[in-house]
């Protein structure tokens, strides 16, 4: 009897022309290839060392200047110039300063579609799994090989299925759910594996909220964070692209390495404490801890739905004098929509600093490096020591609602009182 396949096995079979099963190694064709300003410089150098002349298909490649944008240093400016020159020469897509975070741009601009196989030289490339894309992070040399050949070798991952039943309570969001799951399975709970997130709790979420979950699959060690496509997915994708696509569903007799079932109906807001993402506590365990800075944005939680939730809490109020708040919308388009809806005005009036769409505050390059010993509460996906540019600071990770509520009081605050 031939057993069924997981989503990952199906996508890798189709793209390699082989019957790809977990643990096989295949060379597969790529639908899209992406690099950002922390990784593209090395990739361009490697491409040249590989004696690359032309990229495999300019329409299937984007370089995104988002990690230190606008440039805070001359050295970074040189890297940005190298990307711009390469993009012009090779006629590939270039997203420049202010355009946004790569993981917002690729789905938003219609570059990635359900059933696609995508690599990006950024670990959070797993984000597009939320729209049924097998997308995974790679390093610069893999990126160079992808730019040149349009292919990459993959170890076909085993799959860890998360069955998520029930409905999230009011004031509890997809960020809380993924933090809870990471805390439960730990930072290497799904290493080398594909995560599949399924069940009614996922079905009930918007596509934007689902991106938050797939974005953090890497924080449990996973290669990708896949979801099946439903009507919400196909509607969302059609609103962002005119191209045809074919969604991929796991077979009912697919073989899973691990399956875990959860009921999310009683979940509390969750917070990841310093200095690891799996050091997760329910809000009740951390309430009252003073926070000097909040960050709302990043590839995890910088979309319209996130900004609307945060603005609904901050509207007409002032953030605590003991806190600061930095808001970074995830793209130019999100920034424009947030302006039209009046959200930016709400943030600025509440006392927040709204900065250029990009990754800066999350990754410690600029735009909000904390002071020695300060506590930060952020909607980002990593709280490693030094992550935000100061190894003596302490980073807590939470939902946009929890961050907004916390900066109002200057201490970690349960946001459920606002819903």
């Amino acid at each position: 009897m031939v057993l069924g396949k997981t989503i990952a096995e199906k996508i890798l079979s189709k793209h390699s022309g082989q019957d790809a099963r977990a643990n096989d190694i295949v060379v597969a064709d790529l639908d899209f290839v992406m690099g950002q300003d922390g990784t593209s410089g090395l990739a361009i150098n490697a491409f040249e060392q590989m004696q690359g002349q032309k990229v495999f298909d300019p329409g299937k490649i984007a370089m995104v200047i988002d990690h230190s944008a606008p440039s805070p240093l001359a050295g970074v400016s040189a890297l940005h110039k190298q990307m711009r020159d390469f993009a012009e020469l090779q006629k590939i897509h270039l997203y420049d300063i202010g355009d946004g975070v790569c993981h917002q741009l690729l789905p938003e601009q219609g570059h990635v579609l359900p059933g696609n196989l995508v690599i990006g030289a950024d670990s959070h490339t797993c984000t597009y799994g939320a729209i049924n894309v097998l997308s995974t992070g790679v390093g610069s040399t893999d990126l160079a090989a992808g730019l040149l050949s349009g292919k990459l070798w993959f170890k076909v991952p085993e799959t860890f299925k998360f069955m998520l039943n029930g409905e999230l309570p009011k004031g509890v969001f997809s960020k809380d759910l993924i933090l809870y799951l990471i805390g439960d399975v730990t930072a290497d709970g799904a290493t080398y594996m594909a995560a599949e997130y399924v069940g009614e709790a996922i079905d009930r979420l918007s596509v934007e909220a689902r991106f938050t979950i797939s974005n953090m699959a890497i924080e449990m060690g996973a290669k990708c964070g896949l979801m099946e496509a439903d009507a919400k997915t196909t509607d969302w994708v059609k609103a962002h692209s005119n191209r045809e696509f074919e969604t991929v569903k796991a077979d009912s007799d697919a073989v899973y390495a691990r399956v875990k079932e959860y009921d999310v109906s009683k979940l509390e807001p969750q917070v990841a404490r310093p200095h690891t993402v799996d050091n997760v506590s329910p809000i009740s365990g951390v309430e009252g801890i003073p926070v000097q800075q909040g960050v709302i944005g990043t590839c995890t939680n910088g979309r319209m739905e996130d900004l609307r939730i945060a603005a609904s809490i901050l509207k007409g109020k002032k953030i605590s004098k003991k806190s600061r708040l930095i808001v970074a919308p995830s793209s130019r388009q999100v920034m424009i929509e947030a302006m039209r809806e009046g959200l930016i005005e709400i943030f600025v009036e509440s006392g927040a600093a709204v900065v250029t769409p990009g990754c800066g505050p999350c990754v410690g390059t600029h735009n909000g490096v904390p002071s020695d010993g300060e506590n930060v509460i952020s909607t980002a996906n990593r709280n490693f020591k030094g992550r935000m540019g100061n190894p003596t600071a302490f980073i807590y990770l939470a939902s946009p609602a929890t961050v907004a509520a916390s900066v109002l009081y200057g201490k970690i605050t349960d946001p459920r009182e606002f819903f």
Binding site: V27, D188, F384, G389
Partner: protein, 166 residues
Amino acid sequence: MDLKGKVHKFGDDVNTDYIISGRHKFKTLDMKELAKYVMEDLDPDFYSKVSKGDFIVGGRNFGCGSSREQAPLAIINADIDAVIAKSFARIFYRNCINTGLALIECDTDQIDEGDELEINLQAGILYNRTKGIEIQITPLPEVMLKILSEGGLVEHFKKYGTFNFD
């Protein structure tokens, strides 16, 4: 390939931000310069303690986090010959193979700071000379051994122009 050197021991979940911090890696593509900051947030004096050919030894999930290839490159340029850990995060693992940094998966509980190790990668043997014990190594899959033995993925592409595992 025989390797000999002393151990610099770290714990579980050593992430790529610890290996090379984001506040340094965006500044330059000069890996000799970045190498000075390797492991800085875990041990500010690390770079000055390393002698040529030493090893970094970790626990579980070594190299988790960001995809930055500056992590293995900075390690190579700090004159470290191999990274040894109980398990590796997958992007870091690929990046080591692609850049030609040897990685060894084995039980590291019996390896301590300052131990002298001898490693024969082909034979798959790690000998802890200080403790007088031999430790079993998990062998690398064939595709990865091929890329590593060719000196990394750039050399592989120079040779074949594309992926060639036949």
